[in-house]
């Protein structure tokens, strides 16, 4: 369309003439679009890091935890992991899976705990992660130096420990930790291995602030006899993950004497289910963001409409001149519509730049990982165009409908 470029030029010129006013009007859109794109970048970043940590752990992993799945679904957060006081997981469950399951490789019970770990006059409180010799592989850890505890250490409840990088830094400044005796909750343990660094997980927790000891030692000497927090196993390959999950569920129902019709008192989850949870959370997050976005764009749009109505009144004379000289109603309509779209799209673009800035700052100065994808940008741009169009149409129609004689006489 000829004259369209001309309209954009006119729009920019008139917006530039009222810099402060244009900026304040755009601020609504800038903040709205900026907040939404920034938050989506945080959401996408979190999602990506969850997915990548899931893939780190290995997509064959199956997690068995105590408690009723239906009840737990109501809860969010850390309780999810440790729910269900009455139903416990014990060595019988491990044995049952090891003996009967055909679609899984190794099985390892896990007990988490905390405790005071000290060497000479230094101490720290890492996460204590206890398991069997299979725990290394299943928990996706690697040994940097030394070795993990073996089957013999587990069966004899040896006082041996494998420590993570953070613990090394905190307890042994420049000393070689290998073979040193550390105290865990007052008990002597010999350091036999150091874990490779793993960094932080998606929630910002330091995964290197960890000490691992044999589960038998942990139960008999550190935390007291009790149930397992979870049992880890893995399917023989990725394709059989769902079959293996079902198989374990059948085995445990039988071995725990759960009758048909009764609900499970344990949960069997695999990574695909975890990913489902992540995508559910992301879905909720997206709906909330969309809500915020529509409110802020609505408010921004009303601001644009307001200022466009003022602009139409201010420029009544100009409209009269243009009409007297041959502008059709449509020409005036397009001129003012382009102006409000330019206003909102400029706001949208500034908002995106603002969000990119926030995302870069968050990425570099906080633990949050952000990721800006093209989708939110395209959506933000099309929505701000739509806002300009929608809220600009009424003022533009008022301008277009002005009677040229009255408009010319307007002072």
């Amino acid at each position: 369309m000829r004259g369209f470029l001309e309209n954009i030029k006119i729009a920019f010129r008139s917006l530039f003439l009222n810099k402060t006013r244009s900026f304040l009007t755009m601020l609504g859109i800038i903040i709205g679009v900026g907040a939404v794109v920034a938050m989506l970048s945080i959401g996408t970043g979190a999602q990506e890091s969850v997915i990548s940590s899931v893939q780190d752990i290995g997509s064959n992993l199956i997690i068995i935890s105590p408690g009723n799945p239906e009840e737990e679904q109501q809860m969010m957060g850390p309780q999810m992991m440790f729910a269900g006081d009455n139903a416990e997981l014990g060595p019988d469950d491990v044995t049952a899976i090891e003996r009967e399951a055909e679609l899984v490789t190794v099985v390892a019970p896990v007990v988490f705990g905390g405790g005071m770990v000290s060497y000479l006059n230094k101490n720290t409180q890492p996460q204590i992660y206890s398991s069997t010799e299979n725990g290394l592989e299943l928990y996706n850890m690697d040994i940097e130096r030394g070795s993990f505890y073996n089957r013999g250490d587990v069966s004899s409840s040896s006082n041996v420990a494998v420590i993570g990088q953070t613990v090394v830094k905190k307890l042994f400044n420049n000393i070689d930790p290998m073979g040193k005796i550390i105290k865990i909750n007052g008990q002597n343990f010999k350091v036999i291995g150091i874990l490779e660094p793993r960094g932080t997980d998606s929630f910002g927790n330091d995964q290197d602030n960890v000490v691992s000891v044999p589960v038998t030692t942990a139960q008999s000497k550190l935390f007291g006899e009790g149930s397992y927090d979870m049992i880890l196993t893995q399917s023989i390959n990725e394709e059989s993950i769902d079959d293996a999950t079902e198989e374990i569920e059948d085995i445990l129902r039988r071995s725990r004497g759960i009758r048909i019709g009764e609900k499970n008192d344990f949960r069997v989850r695999n990574q695909t289910q975890l990913l489902d949870v992540v995508s559910t959370i992301t879905g909720i997050f997206t709906v909330v963001i969309a809500g915020i976005a529509s409110i802020s764009l609505l408010v921004g749009g009303i601001g644009i409409m307001n200022i466009m109505l003022v602009s139409v009144t201010e420029r009544t004379k100009e409209i009269g001149i243009r009409k007297a000289i041959g502008a059709k109603n449509r020409d005036i309509l397009v001129q003012f519509l382009v102006e409000s779209i330019v206003l909102s799209v400029t706001g949208g673009i500034s908002g995106i730049l603002f969000a990119v800035l926030i995302s870069i700052i968050l990425n570099n100065f906080t633990v949050l990982e952000t990721s800006i994808t093209t989708m939110p940008i395209i959506i933000a741009l099309s929505f701000s165009t739509a806002v300009g169009l929608f809220f600009g149409i009424y003022p533009a129609m008022r301008a277009a409908r002005l009677n040229p004689i009255d408009a010319l006489r307007y002072e």
Binding site: R322, A324, I325, A327, K328, P404
Partner: protein, 250 residues
């Protein structure tokens, strides 16, 4: 061109305004012809219907009854868009208050009618420059109206009125805001344009100005009360030559 063809042919034209429930007649049956190449003026006291008549002739408004043919087009039957096309191509307006776009420079103001002309325009820039040159403002192309004197602003308005080569130039009190010397200069431009073949219709309440035209049409109470050919026409160039210049006095 057909000799008995008229630029403006108005027959029994009436215009009434409705204000609330009462109707106010502004024009009560006007007959008016303007031939090609004519330079005519309309005179009348305020309230005589001058503005209404100019608005209708300028296709800003349409008559209530009667016919108005502009270049054989029945303006009374046109819709808003068609009226806009007429204003754009067949009418060149010059207003008392100039009515230039204050944010646009001289070039852009003169260009304005071309923006709303849908056809492709050849040598657009040259045409604009020609129009500006014909009113003697070539050195002022980049200036905005607030940097120009009243006379210069009116020259811009004339250049803008000329740019689309209209059938008629309508000038509504074009000298009303100008001092006598500048006013004389503007009238001089109109007389020159008329000599070059332009048809011009001028509204004024000053007899002195009207006597520069070829014919004076008197309007009173919404009807044409009389017409006369100007016998001893004033020529702006001669008057300007006799006028004392400010420079000569100091």
């Amino acid at each position: 061109m057909n000799d008995n063809k008229l630029i403006i042919k108005i027959r029994q034209m009436k215009k009434t305004y409705r204000i609330g429930s009462i109707t106010v007649p502004a024009l009560k049956g006007v007959d008016l012809d303007v031939a090609p190449g004519e330079f005519a003026s309309i005179m009348g006291p305020s309230g005589s219907g001058k503005s209404t008549l100019m608005n209708i002739i300028g296709a800003l408004d349409i008559p209530t009854t009667g016919t108005y043919l502009l270049d054989d087009v029945d303006v009374g039957s046109l819709d808003d868009n068609e009226l806009a096309v007429i204003r754009n191509k067949k009418v060149g307006f010059v207003f008392q208050t100039y009515n230039l776009l204050s944010r646009a420079d001289v070039f852009a103001n003169v260009e304005l009618p071309l923006i709303y002309t849908r056809d492709r325009i050849k040598n657009k820039k040259a045409r604009i420059l020609d129009a500006i040159e014909s009113v003697g403002l070539t050195d002022w192309i980049k200036h905005r109206p607030n940097e120009l004197s009243g006379g210069q602003k009116q020259r811009v308005a004339i250049a803008r009125a000329l740019i689309n080569n209209p059938s008629i130039i309508l000038a509504d009190e074009p000298t009303g805001n100008l001092d006598s010397r500048t006013g004389e200069e503007i009238i001089g431009i109109f007389q020159r344009l008329n000599r070059e073949g332009k048809t011009i219709l001028l509204v004024t309440h000053e007899m002195e100005i009207a006597r520069h035209t070829q014919r004076i049409i008197y309007l009173r109470d919404g009807v044409i009360s009389g017409q006369e050919a100007v016998a001893d026409r004033l020529i702006a160039e001669e008057i300007l030559a006799k006028m004392p210049r400010l420079e000569d006095k100091i």
